[in-house]
């Protein structure tokens, strides 16, 4: 087996997650970014 560079996806922080009763992660999502725009002109 050829050894190569392992690809790792960007380490994006999890903003939320759903855990089962035993603590395993059922689902998760990235950060929620709230933005408000200020337009000039």
């Amino acid at each position: 087996m050829t050894e190569g560079l392992a690809f790792e996806p960007p380490d994006e922080p999890e903003g939320w997650r759903v855990l089962g009763p035993d603590g395993h992660v059922v689902a998760s999502g990235g950060q929620t970014v709230t933005e408000a725009s200020a337009d000039a002109g």
Partner: protein, 149 residues
């Protein structure tokens, strides 16, 4: 799309522009979200710039109608950086009603609205007995980032 309550938009604009008598800055900023600890309200419907979504209501544990409390003191913004909330990880165990979390509102202790947003991937289904968690942390590590750009 702006993710800030429209009433708060006006308060900020009026407090930072010469809308007062003879062109002095307006005095509208005041304390629009109160002076007590803030909350994160979770909603089963989507909040809008005009109104909060429908509160998920009191759950089996970890969430009482009105929002999560004891968020912790977020790291203050400096040079325009975002503010991350919550500092302390928040979670609740679902009663199964409702079954979905859609959006949040960052509110004052008396439900005054400020910033809001949909959760990525919403609706987030949280079955009865499962736990929904928002990651706490300092600055960029927090699950919700509040910014003005």
């Amino acid at each position: 799309m702006a993710a800030i309550d429209q009433a708060l938009v006006s308060i900020l604009l009026n407090g930072l522009t010469p809308t007062g008598a003879a062109g002095i800055p307006g005095t509208a900023i005041g304390t629009p979200v109160g002076t007590s600890a803030m909350k994160i309200r979770l909603n089963s419907t989507l909040s809008t710039a005009s109104a909060a979504g429908t509160d998920i209501g009191t759950q089996t544990s970890g969430y009482t109608a009105g929002g999560w409390t004891s968020l912790g003191q977020s790291t203050a913004s400096a040079s325009g950086t975002a503010v991350g909330v919550p500092l302390t990880t928040q979670s609740f165990v679902s009663s199964g009603s409702p079954t979905a979390v859609v959006s949040f509102d960052l509110t004052g202790s008396a439900a005054q609205r400020g910033f809001w947003g949909p959760f990525n991937g919403q609706p987030v289904n949280v079955a009865s007995g499962n736990t929904f968690q928002v990651t706490g942390g300092s600055g960029a590590a927090a699950g919700i980032q509040i910014s003005l750009t």
